[in-house]
């Protein structure tokens, strides 16, 4: 959806426009909020954050939407900022959760015998590369299972397989991933 399409839709019916925005970008915003809040918030917190993003977007549409705006970029920016604000809010409320996750990082790294000096973003990139090398649908199954915490039945629906098949592929894919990580010095 472009800004011009959005403006036209807003003039016709703001509520329909809002609904269309949530339908088209809901998954995108959810993924961003999930990425920031996965470790500190509940699913309700993530939904709250997503709804806050859309409320801010609706306000922008109502008062301050320039047709020059790249809509996806705008939504992404609002989502990231809101998610960061939520992260800070949630960690401050629960307090005592360290801000940069240094402790978590150390623990995580030690689990996989990784040199402590390995940069986290590099680790992220290598891990995603290795997951991608597994090909589809294995990469999607692993990400949905271990990152998005979906169960086999839910994953089965999204990759059009049976839950049993998902479980089998997931187990084999995880073995392959372990081997690949060992090859690059990220496992034991």
């Amino acid at each position: 959806m472009t800004s011009r399409e959005l403006t036209a839709l807003m003039e016709k019916s703001p509520v329909s426009c809002h609904k269309a925005l949530v339908k088209e970008y809901g998954r995108y915003v959810y993924a961003i909020a999930y990425n920031k809040l996965r470790g500190c918030g509940t699913s309700e917190d993530i939904e709250e954050c997503v709804s806050d993003v859309f409320a801010a977007l609706f306000m922008q549409c109502e008062y301050d939407l320039s047709s020059e705006n790249d809509l996806k970029y705008l939504i992404g920016t609002i989502a990231k900022r809101k998610a960061i604000d939520y992260f800070r809010s949630l960690t401050a409320r629960e307090s005592h959760i360290s801000e940069t996750d240094e402790d978590d990082m150390r623990e995580l790294v030690s689990d996989f015998s990784v040199d402590e000096r390995v940069d986290r973003s590099e680790l992220r990139r290598v891990l995603l590369d290795k997951i991608d090398e597994l090909g589809e649908p294995d990469s999607t199954i692993l990400i949905q299972k271990f990152y998005y915490n979906r169960n086999s039945k839910e994953i089965a629906e999204s990759v059009s397989m049976t839950a049993t098949a998902v479980r089998q592929r997931c187990s084999r894919a995880m073995d392959k991933l372990r081997t690949k990580l060992v090859e690059v010095g990220l496992g034991r």
Partner: protein, 456 residues
């Protein structure tokens, strides 16, 4: 606790990794999307109404010569008046009939029904000593040296003769059901602190039955006593130990004070008392009472999770009723909870908007002249400002930020309420923040000190 896995490293990903994760995000169900839509729409309407209200307020300009005129007409059905009148008459008649019936049911039968009444042994002792009369709020004790004469009447079961009946006369004013209450802060002058410990039934034969708040029942006897303090004779009741040999109350002796006919208090302290069951503490809807209740809730958290809690009163919104500020401690993560008074209750300002609890290190900034609450900090990755205008008990919050990580990612690092803004706009907000006359508040009174909220 959730087990960690290597996929946790994917959290907080930078843009390119994020895009890869978004591609693999499972579909959101229609039901969930619908829920998100409804929540968003609700928040949007609220924000829009607030914005319009603020804009409207800003455009209203009245001078001293402006006059407000007109009559607002209200319509209601013609039949409503006679109907409400009839209902009132019926209600009054019902109350009158009901009261009469209740009075008749509670009339005591003549004769009192014989039964076993106690025989009596009287012993009297006289001594001189120092009595702790009271303890003030600073913990100092006020003492007096007096000649104390105690007369104790020990009762035992007898054959119900007229003499024995006469010797249980002392108990008659106290016969009935009483609530046993103890203050969890050792100060019953804070009425909200009184906790129910059990029910005591005092009977005409000078015995009592105690049913504690766990349902355990115990029995004992009561003897008559008087104490002279400073030349004044004070009526006392001495409660025996129960059948297990234990005390049912804080102390054995309860004192009766004519100025408070509804209670018997134990010992010289202000910790425990018996209150007549029918006595109802007058309803206190003052802001002091509401804040006392709120502080008591936090008082119970002292130690865990609060390490060094304190509180404060500050009139931030200028309505002549101060706001209550509760500081959780003095560490960086410690914050200030702010409450305002409305309709007899203390309401949490944090719950009305999604925001970080106010302040850090257990204090926050306020600007009384302009009714702002403010807070800012800078570390090597974030510059964060929060400026909240408190208007009609509604906080209007501006959060303006600079994120180093966003700058490194080639994005606009400055933000105002999650919207990217130019450096110039950001700096304007910072200048506005710095122009306020901030004072640091939050830690004035200890959590157990209620004196600023008591009308002593």
């Amino acid at each position: 606790m959730r087990k960690k896995n290597i996929f946790d490293v994917l959290e907080n990903a930078e843009n390119d990794s994020m895009e890869r994760l978004i591609d693999k995000c499972p579909d959101i169900s229609d039901e969930q999307l619908d829920r998100i839509f409804r929540m968003s729409e609700k928040k949007f309407r609220k924000q829009r109404a607030e914005k319009e209200r603020t804009e409207r307020d800003n455009t209203i300009k009245m001078t001293e010569n402006d006059v407000v005129e007109g009559v607002e007409h209200s319509k209601r059905p013609v039949w409503l008046t006679p109907l409400t009148t009839a209902a009132s008459v019926l209600l009054i008649a019902g109350i009158a009939i009901g009261s009469t019936a209740m009075m008749k049911r509670h009339t005591k039968p003549n004769g009192g029904g014989g039964g076993v009444t106690p025989a009596v042994t009287v012993s009297t002792s006289t001594g001189t000593g120092t009595n702790i009369v009271s303890t003030d709020k600073n913990g100092s004790t006020i003492t007096g040296t007096d000649v104390t004469t105690t007369t104790t009447t020990v009762t035992s079961v007898g054959d119900g003769s007229d003499q024995n009946t006469a010797d249980t006369e002392f108990i008659k004013p106290f016969v009935g059901r009483w609530r046993y209450e103890m203050s969890n802060i050792n100060d019953l002058d804070v009425p909200e602190s009184a906790g129910y410990m059990g029910t005591v039934e005092i009977t005409a034969d000078a015995t009592y039955i105690m049913t504690d708040n766990s349902g355990n029942v115990s029995h004992g006897t009561i003897s008559n006593a008087t104490e002279e303090i400073g030349g004044t004779s004070i009526q006392c009741l001495d409660f025996s130990v129960n059948e297990s040999g234990a005390n049912d109350f804080l102390t054995r002796r309860a004192y009766y004070d004519e100025s408070r006919p509804y209670e018997l208090h134990f010992g010289n302290s202000n910790i425990a008392r018996l209150v007549r069951e029918e006595y109802v503490e007058p309803t206190d809807t003052s802001w002091q009472s509401a804040y006392r209740k709120e502080i008591l809730k936090h008082y119970n958290k002292a130690g865990i999770p609060y390490n060094d809690p304190m509180w404060d009163l500050q009139d931030i919104d200028g309505d002549d009723i101060p706001e209550l500020l509760i500081s959780t401690g003095t560490q960086k993560d410690d914050c200030v909870y702010i409450y305002y008074y409305e309709n007899g209750e203390a309401k949490d300002l944090n719950n009305t908007v999604q925001t970080i609890p106010y302040g850090e290190y257990g204090v926050t900034n306020i600007c009384k002249e302009e009714h702002y609450i403010g807070h800012n900090y800078t570390d090597n990755r974030v510059t964060y400002y929060e400026m909240t205008k408190l208007k009609d008990h509604y906080p209007i919050c501006d959060i303006f930020t600079y994120y180093y990580d966003l700058e490194q990612a080639g994005e606009t690092p400055y933000g105002l309420n999650a919207r990217p803004v130019s450096e110039e706009e950001f700096n304007q907000k910072v200048d506005e923040y710095n122009s306020k006359n901030w004072i640091t508040v939050g830690r004035q009174y200890r959590l157990g000190d209620f004196s600023p909220l008591l009308n002593k």
